[in-house]
Symmetry: C2
Subunit: 361 residues, 2 copies
């Protein structure tokens, strides 16, 4: 695995997005959102997906010049129609609407339809932090997850992100799939042909399996909890709430009707809505108590958990967001490692669209 | 285990609450909230806790005549000071504030300090349903849960409830602890001296254990996921968000400072806030799209999941809220089963406060 400087990936990604017709500003926004995944270590959601977005655009499933707009609103809510645009562009727009609502109403809540894959959930929630707001970001996704007791794939990995500002401590940033393991983790095991822990996936009949190919072979990812005895009905319930807030509130597709990200699978012939859906929230901290007071207590909260006594063999208790932030510091400095297969794919994409992969050319 | 008519429990509970000085209206509200747990099958949170509340009152840790009030607000938010009142009374007040905010601002969000145990989370979220609103209810709780990698008890079982209205289908009502198993489930195993599944608890050193007494012996409940490999950092993250929304936003105690519900444990000598905290949300469905449209799609969502193909040996996929609603129908008709130990405790409580347990007396 070789390492590439961030600047190279930035230039390449932005040029590709310009080539498919994105306006300059949108190409910058989408590039930053996409690469935030590589920086924060969610490699499955970063530049490795660039050619996936292009393939969707080639299939006319992404609108590179969308008219993203608010179609309904109240003082603290809005519904945004993404007009089939890149989720990478639609999401920052919608999150900004939530932030603006929060400035006047205390909080802002935006449900989005007619969008596409939006990258990592966390980057959108974090948009609120600079405004001394708590940010919330949810999205539904390609159906790969079976509810407890089912052998059908009816939900996506439907992530939940919550970003909370502190004073001297770095912010608290939860960013989690509502499944035991994210699909990206499974893809890593597939490449290495290593067994998956029981509780991550089931086979096509709904039996527990440790085969890393279980999902490819018609099986499913399992909701957080893994099985009923360990609370998988809770992971399923959370994934369901994410689906409903993102899509039933907005008018997007939900459950098994969510259009798959991969271009080789066709969208459902009888959709129940438009595109896929997201949900964003912004809460002004000082809509509850003075921001300084809140952030100082967040420092106390984080400090107390950070210094909690550990079990033997563990160095420290992790604050949500710490590993991603620490990795981002390293990768900004030292570059981003990419698998040879990803580099080959990007180089081919560049050749197809007339963009140089290598800096030197 | 004998069964008792709801009317007997209602009369007894309300009279006890009047005896400790609750105003008539508060006694009715608290009684209804408390008994909703018995009706819905969360037996650990119902009338079995009545003497626990009384013991807290005897220790001057509950104010039977609180001046519950809004101490800060914006168009879509409020902070409520529960004035040390019963959570069973404070919570319905605060949820009503959220609902009133939602009527004008589209959504309402209320963080509460200086409260106490509020019964089951679900009953408060469900308060929104009659208004065609989505209801959300969170609370922190006595520290019994260790974050991933820790052997300290720093979080409560911190539940999340979300109630969503449908048209012809019954509402979707998620009501879940953010731990693998709720403490009540463990108490049942303790009484029967049966082993707990691995992944529910750890011992005082943080090792996995199946002893049902693990928590009593200084161990801890585990966050949803059970261990790191199965995503316990996600359950921990969710429990943390519940703690922060409920207490850091409001000015209540958080983490290990949350005052324990049991009267034999003293509150922390150096509290970081007042009482324990809750968080409530109400979102008007028609702040996003017409309510009929939304509820009709909820019917489609629920119908699709309800008829999902099951794994062998399972009859159906469960919609969150179904089991509790079905049990409530039975128990309203046939009465509520109580363990002999609970009946003895209630009878003793009645004798102490001059309230007859038996109907016939």
């Amino acid at each position: 695995m070789s390492t590439y400087p961030l600047s190279q990936l930035e230039r390449f990604t932005k040029e590709i997005l310009l080539r498919i017709g994105c306006p300059e500003k949108d190409a910058s926004t989408a590039m930053e959102v996409l690469l935030s995944a590589d920086l924060r270590g969610v490699d499955s959601h970063g530049v490795a997906r660039l050619s996936g977005y292009v393939r969707l655009w080639e299939k006319n499933r992404i609108n590179a010049q969308p008219n993203i707009r608010i179609i309904h609103e109240t003082p603290s809510t809005a519904v945004v129609d993404g007009d089939g645009g890149l989720g990478l562009v639609v999401a920052p727009y919608a999150m900004q609407v939530a932030i603006e609502k929060a400035k006047t109403a205390g909080t802002g809540w935006v449900s989005v339809k007619n969008s596409n894959h939006y990258g990592i959930a966390g980057i959108h929630a974090m948009q609120a932090l600079a405004h001394d707001m708590i940010g919330i970001s949810l999205t539904n996704a390609s159906p790969l997850v079976s509810p407890t007791f089912s052998r059908e794939r009816l939900l996506g990995t439907n992530p939940i992100s919550v970003a909370i500002p502190a004073a001297t401590q770095p912010p608290f940033v939860l960013d989690m799939a509502t499944t035991t393991a994210a699909n990206g983790k499974l893809e890593i095991l597939q490449r290495k042909q290593q067994e998956a822990p029981y509780g991550w996936i089931q086979d096509k009949d709904g039996n527990p399996t440790s085969s890393p190919n279980g999902v490819k072979d018609g099986g499913a990812l399992l909701p957080l909890g893994g099985d009923r005895e360990h609370g998988s009905h809770k992971g399923y319930g959370l994934g369901a709430v994410v689906d409903i807030f993102s899509a039933v509130l907005s008018g997007a597709n939900y459950g098994p009707w969510v259009p798959p990200f991969v271009a080789f699978l066709e969208p459902h012939p009888n959709p129940v809505g438009e595109g896929l859906g997201h949900f964003f929230g912004a809460m002004r901290v000082d809509a509850f108590r003075p921001a300084d007071e809140f952030k100082s207590h967040m420092d106390t909260w984080i400090g107390r958990f950070r210094k909690a006594k550990t079990v033997e063999g563990q160095e420290k208790v992790v604050i949500p967001g710490d590993p991603e932030r620490e990795l981002e510091e390293v990768r900004r400095r030292e570059g981003i490692p990419l698998l040879p297969a990803v580099v080959d794919d990007l180089r081919g994409l560049g050749e197809r669209l007339g963009v140089n992969w290598d800096e030197s050319q």
